[in-house]
Amino acid sequence: MLVLGIETSCDETSAALVTDGRTVLSNIIANQLDLHRKYGGVVPEIAARRHTELIGYVINEALDVGGKSLTDVEAVAVTAKQGLVGSLLVGVAAAKTLSYVLRVPLIGVHHIEGHIFANLLSNPEIPLPHVCLTVSGGHTLLVYIKGHCQYELLGGTVDDAAGEAFDKIAKFLDLGFPGGPIIDRLAAQGDRKAFNFPRPLLKAKTNYFSFSGLKTAIINAFKHQLATGKVLPLEDIAASFQEAVVEVLVTKTLRAAKQREVSAISVTGGVSANRRLREVFTDTCSAEGIKVYFPDLSLCTDNAAMIAAAGHARLAHGQADDLSLDVVPNVPLEVQHAG
């Protein structure tokens, strides 16, 4: 079955063709970073305008690159839940029109479920059940994946998302936007032990995260250095900050995996592209006899292939939406919505 996926939940306009929820024929991602960079973050109105300009082009290109025509499309999946409302509605408006004209099923997908499927697309062999960490600029969530499309939310962040902390630190240190890849690069040349930044909630027996205090600690350390007139080793700050985030993410995910007695962990979302995060996860999990899976780098950040794959799975469970599908900017990942 050929599914056309559409994703416009934040600042990436994306369309993809995926067959049988497994094979990605095309995955077109129009990145808007250049438009948002000078603001140090995504500006919702600018993002929504750009989506409106680009949506037709990315859909057209997804069909072109995938070597298919509109009449080959058998279902349309679109991110309808979780994201910027003005951005989401451009994708949903396009998807509804396609579904109406082509007379094919329409599936509204939760953005986080999409990220979970990004990992399944790259690693179809991931055993069930397993524990999944979704970590990006907008989310830090621990999900217990009981079965196909069956989720139990284990925990999440009580303030900033991990990727958001990267962005905010980069913005504060005047490094640019987005912060993730910049800090990853800088940290590779720094001393991870130069600063002993706090590891928030590391020891607490909770599956919840907090990154706002860590951000404040770094800002204070930076101000202190500025006041004492020292030369600022940005690489060391970046490496020490990244190490603190990575340690918290890995330790808590592993603890959740052990609590649930699973033999596998999947890590997904934009931050799952971070090299140090992958390294520490791989080393720690291998020492504990747990397998860890990451998506291909092309599927880490927001993309429509993962939405098409998630939509295909939901359709296989007999779930589809009608033409009254609306956007929901903030809603928890459904618990056990499989039929």
């Binding site: 960079r37 603001y39 109105e45 929504a48 409106t52 859909i59 408006a93 029109t97 005047d174 609306d326």
Partner: protein, 234 residues
């Protein structure tokens, strides 16, 4: 030419179908914040009510705004995708022109107004009707109502969904009888008629590129680092 017209720049789905000059359907669905949820169902019911299928439609017209930014994006995206999926031509029409068109029988200057929704800002323009055609005079106006009134030097009809309210506000600041009020909303059939005339003369928009008419930039300000004083670079 059978044309489907859509305008979602206000708090309604305005949907109409025309066959050239003849109106086959013209409906206004109050939707408020359910514009996206209802749009396809409303289009479907209008077509069915007119005894038509989507395959009968030969072209599409869409109101480009100005108006609610979120609202316009819904109609413009739906219009673009309808044209893309059916391969039929598309023409975008300024929502101000749609309003002006509805006052084309007035032998005076026509001034459609759309509320920008915040801080008393309005979008407006001036049009003149001649031989059932309307032509825009000068540029679009973005500002407050008193600023617009200063530009009015001759008998004018204000066209807006709350034209009487505007007239009440400006009543004393202008010569008596200079300004009349006509309460109209942008209707789907008017969008369709204006689009049909242009499509029939071979004019059409790029169905992938067509973008809304916002008339105002997003108000975001560039981030400047407090310590370095440096703005983030583009």
């Amino acid at each position: 030419m059978l044309v489907l017209g859509i305008d979602t720049s206000g708090y309604a789905n305005a949907i109409g179908v025309v066959d050239g000059e003849r109106i086959l359907a013209d409906f206004m669905f109050e939707t408020r914040n359910e514009s996206l949820a209802k749009i396809m169902l409303n289009i479907d019911s209008v077509l069915k009510g007119a005894g038509l299928g989507l395959e009968d439609i030969e072209g599409f017209g869409v109101g480009l705004g100005p108006g609610s930014w979120t609202g316009i994006r819904i109609g413009v995206t739906v219009g673009k995708m309808l044209a893309y999926c059916t391969g039929k031509p598309l023409k975008g029409i300024s929502t101000l022109e749609v309003l002006a068109y509805r006052a084309r029988d007035y032998h005076r200057l026509i001034c459609p107004i759309v509320d920008a929704g915040a801080g008393g800002t309005i979008y407006a323009a001036f049009y003149r009707a001649a031989n059932d055609k309307i032509n825009q005079i000068g540029d679009y106006y973005v500002g407050d109502l008193p600023g617009l009134v200063e530009m009015i030097k001759e008998p004018t009809v204000l066209v807006a969904d709350k034209a009487q309210e505007y007239l009440g506000i400006i009543g004393n600041s202008i010569q008596p009888n200079t300004v009349e009020a006509l309460e109209k909303s942008p209707r789907g059939a008017a969008v369709a008629k204006l689009a049909a005339a242009r499509l029939e003369s071979g004019e059409q928009d790029d169905m992938l590129a067509l973008a809304p008419l916002y008339l105002k930039e997003s108000t975001a300000r560039a981030f400047v680092n407090k310590y370095s004083g440096r703005a983030l670079e583009v």
